[in-house]
Symmetry: D2
Subunit: 378 residues, 4 copies
């Protein structure tokens, strides 16, 4: 097992999930590289030092340009806010580094396209942390679809419901709240939550060509934490769209931070000729599965507890019946990335896959504005 | 308790649910009228006689015009296919009969408008059998909304999923299959299933002004049972739309007969500032309820088993814990209709309410065709 | 279809469920007899008249001896409190009447034995209303077991949990509360709730030879509604036992009226070598089914919605997806009884089956007292 | 943060969970000590080296006596089979080491008593890895009980159901299968699974004085992997008991490895005067909670998703809605142990608590043999 030197940018929520993945991956998976936490890069020196100490980063940088310039770094992992992805990723690619980037890839497709060009020109390994592809239940579903178990697909539906921004007193922008600042985030729930739904959908169900959408900003003004002033809210609080997939199936998508009672309810369902499946992030270790070939009198939705050794990724963990959690999806992606690097293969979702999602979110936002169906670029 | 003489048109699925309601209502509810099953009207004499014998109808008519002409009939109940609603209802109203009509009111708003004018001109009591308003869980939800328990509403979502028409070998039209014949039914799932979702939504959440929709006919040709030939399918197999309610909330609606694994999965959810609710026809005796005012550490979705004496309609049935079923919703509507007649009040959903749903389904079908947002008439 | 003249004793909760069954059965099932509600017998004349009027009984009797003496009665249906079962049933049998008896058959096995002897000597059709055998999900489970789908049985567990007697202010005895009066009821939850669990278990899983049990009376004194005085409570508030079935499987049984949060939670589970099943009265229209032969990666508990035409009894009701409720189990038993009478066959659970349950409840109560394992008589 | 030098004995399933806990604890919890993985002790040198390399143990020992003798070890963690617990723990205590021991403490109470005496005489910190106390849902339940939210307790029920030993072809004994060898394990499911149920119950609901039990060995002979011969099976395959708690509540307990369809279904329920709770290991991140004080019409079981910052342990992990898994319970116990050591306080369950469980399991096994109620020693 060779070392792979990692330079992480960002120490927020995603900085923690990625760091944990780097630590855990080689203990549980047989990977060709062991990540070495070489350097952390973040803006506030004190917090950066504390984070680095806690997670075992060997050094701290204050400017990502310095990090990218270091010869002892193999991979740049971008876990900082959305407005930083573009510049860092391009610089890293130009410097010949592998690049791992938190989702969404860009604040919009234009940014993302530049990033794709950079990594592809440089020929460096790259991946976007759409971690839900590596929930074992979803990975299994992909396998079942690929095996033809569902037959012709008629329907796809996905939603991502949260409720944490309902209070009017919640400020926008600044530490921990940049997801509410349109300049930093690019968009609201469309880029944050709906993008997850779209990435999984494109992977499971193929291409989308056109959408009709609506968005809403329920709370129009919030105090901005950086300026201290009450300012118009630029993000979308809720977002929904209809579309047809290229395989002829119909779909509904929705995301919001105003669905009281749901913390992070990402659900998806796919209905095929022969079988259907449903999944729910709030019980991520289960797959609901319906097989029409079952004998009629005892046919029903099966609640499959995805904890057996023959379920994707699960032989690396504990014993049947004992569930894993959210953080493991990052470990799985890290394992797959390291294996792909070792094998000289791409690790999807690549930047190009991330761009495909940005094309859809761009079309969604455009349709909501134009009040018309909008084509998805490709 | 006075007698109320009923003349029923139709002996299909709905003929049975209505007949059962007429029989059961006065045993369980304290109503001012007892329905007397005076006459059944249907086309095939042998089947009509058998049905009448089984359900205790005192006489049989072969032509609805004869039924309407009878002096001993107080109320005409229309449970025949959609293409018959318009003419029968108008004739009945003109003859001064009360009119109960199975949903949807008309095959389209134009038909429905004529029917509304007829009953309103005649001043006769009228109701449309959108029976799901009388599921105790939904009636309770209406009460909770009216009490302000949810506060400002942000989201509404409803879907009605079935899977019984997936097989290409299923014929269209004729006995038991007229719902697949566009001439008889008017539309496919839009008028059949989506109409239920819309009626409940308008009742719970208010007016809809504009929609963007898509529909699909997955199986393009089917053998027609009346002609014996393979003919193009005219109905929509699936239908979905987005809209805003007048109260500012966003909504997604969907219906299909191609969702493998779902027999009659009508679900609805409403998210308010303070509380949310979810309901599912497959477990119609439960209401899922989330109250944000609950103490944080034990806050969660409550699965309320709607079988207590203080739940709507339930004191008339058994004891706590013992569920009722689908058929009871018709008994409830019948009880309310009889009480309303006794009190000289309307029994919603009236024909006017039924027309409102037809306006929405018309807009949905129009939008699917025009590929544009379409206004809902009022 | 011939008439079958019914004389009902009792107008309480069970009087209603039986009356409803007599009314509904012939409309939904193809039975050789149509029940005619000839006479109602009950103690309080005013209430009896009102009940008879509501349910359409043609006459009212004040003394069951007069009812039994009537030549125009074919079947005596006993829905009065437990302390009346013995005398009425024996007199009815001696008078050559068919006898239907609400459960438990006797207040104890001694009473029940006399009743069995009476009906068997007289050779009259007889049945005990252990209605849960006719929940379609349970009837289906019996079929699956008989087909050998479960293989060798290892475990059975059942419980019946309620919470309606927790309040110390609830009186014992008298109208609507006789189930708390040991002299009337015979026992508390053992004869009331546990008896249901035992009847189903004996039917599904065979004979029990020995039990170890414990019972408890949580509230020791309650006001008695008949005497007006605070008196010791004689019934068991909770009851549990362990046993082995003759087929070698192990079982746990429990019943209580002190399980806060449960209204009528009768659940049962059976685990076999190849398959397992779980059922729950609070969602009586579902059977949970696990089949180990399913492909490993998508193996899970199936939630089977028992509403299809190929499910027991269900082709007589509505369409797939539309559930029936509690009251229908009585209609099913009535249909089976009428068919059995027509065919000259017994309709289980017969009085002899009812006695078998009384033998087990006797052993449970004896074991709780003796603090030892007790043999079950046969 | 000071270093705490750990010497681990055992490299099986539990060796992995403990090692992971030692690695993760200080990154997520603010603890006074950072575990240093000083040495691994295990019998097979090759496997030991590989395990040590993977988990970062600095050295390997082949004999636990050598490990205990090392001056550079602060805490001995026993994760080896049950028959080794007694000798290692006593030696470690005598050597003045802190001792952490996998459950059950001894193969029986006699062994456990010796271990308690050893650690108490030596005055060394000690704990038993009954990890389920640190499932956040269960820790929360303990808090709710202590706050008096449930009031007087009427019922407790727990079961632990698995299905992995149903096949007759499964051998007993040897690598990975020592749990089926009575000499190594001490007992079957009683010490393995039921012990978990008992530990949690004693913690939540207090003392048990007497039990009536039954056990069964369904498969009487299995090939023994160490001898290569078919030998009688000495363990109990299933075990159940009834008891009363000192607080007057009644309880049922059951454990088995023959419940087809259940992988590791540990469930518990407690019913109090005012509230009830239910928990299930297969969805360990949820607590089902019923509060009778809720308004009647919307009263129901709440499904509480235990992922908020105000839930026990959860502020150290991710954000609301994102679940943790099985492995985290060990990390929590490790955090509590380190904090307790820092504060000079005991970390329950201590060895004395572990002994209390062994007293109950001894009584269960005795009762199953004697066919009588048996007192629990204290």
């Amino acid at each position: 097992m060779k070392d792979l030197n990692v330079g992480l940018v960002g120490y927020g929520f995603m900085g923690r999930t990625h760091s944990n993945a780097f630590h855990q991956v080689a203990r549980f998976f047989d990977v060709p590289y062991r990540p070495v936490l070489k350097a952390l890069c973040a803006r506030k020196p004190d917090r950066a030092k504390a984070f680095a100490a806690n997670w075992g980063y060997q050094s701290v940088e204050g400017d990502w340009r310095d990090l990218v310039a270091r010869a002892d770094i193999d991979v740049i992992d971008i876990a900082s806010p959305n407005d930083t992805h573009h510049d860092i990723a391009i610089a890293a690619a130009k410097a010949g580094k592998m690049v791992m980037c938190e989702k969404p890839l860009g604040r919009n497709a234009k940014e993302a396209r530049g990033m794709v060009e950079a990594v592809e020109s440089a020929g460096v390994p790259n991946t976007v942390w759409y971690n839900y592809r590596r929930v074992p239940a979803i990975t299994l579903l992909k396998k079942l679809i690929d095996e033809g178990k569902l037959g012709r697909i008629f329907h796809y539906r996905a939603k991502f419901l949260q409720d944490w921004t309902i209070s009017k007193d919640l400020p926008q922008g600044g530490e921990g709240l940049w997801r509410l600042d349109v300049n930093v985030a690019g968009s609201g729930v469309t880029g944050d939550l709906l993008a997850h739904c779209i990435d999984t959908a494109l992977w499971l169900n193929g291409r989308i060509d056109e959408v009709t959408a609506m968005t809403e900003t329920f709370v129009k003004e919030r105090k901005h934490n950086l300026t201290g002033k009450v300012e118009p809210v630029g993000i979308d609080d809720a977002s929904a769209f209809l579309c047809r997939f290229q395989n002829g199936s119909l779909a509904t998508f929705e995301s919001t931070r105003y669905a009281r009672g749901h913390k992070a309810l990402y659900t998806l369902e796919i209905n095929g000729e022969h079988a259907s499946a449903f999944w729910d992030l709030h019980d991520l270790h289960r797959l609901q599965w319906f097989d029409h070939h079952d004998e009629g009198q005892v046919r029903g939705w099966r609640s499959v507890h995805i904890t057996d050794g023959d379920h994707p990724y699960m032989k690396h963990w504990w014993v049947p019946g004992l569930q894993i959690g959210y953080e493991h999806t990052f470990i799985h992606q890290c394992a797959d990335f390291l294996s792909a690097v070792g094998a000289g293969k791409p690790c999807p979702p690549t930047f190009r896959d991330g761009l495909a999602t940005d094309y859809v979110t761009d079309a969604v936002l455009a349709s909501a504005k134009s009040h018309q169906w909008e084509k998805v670029l490709h």
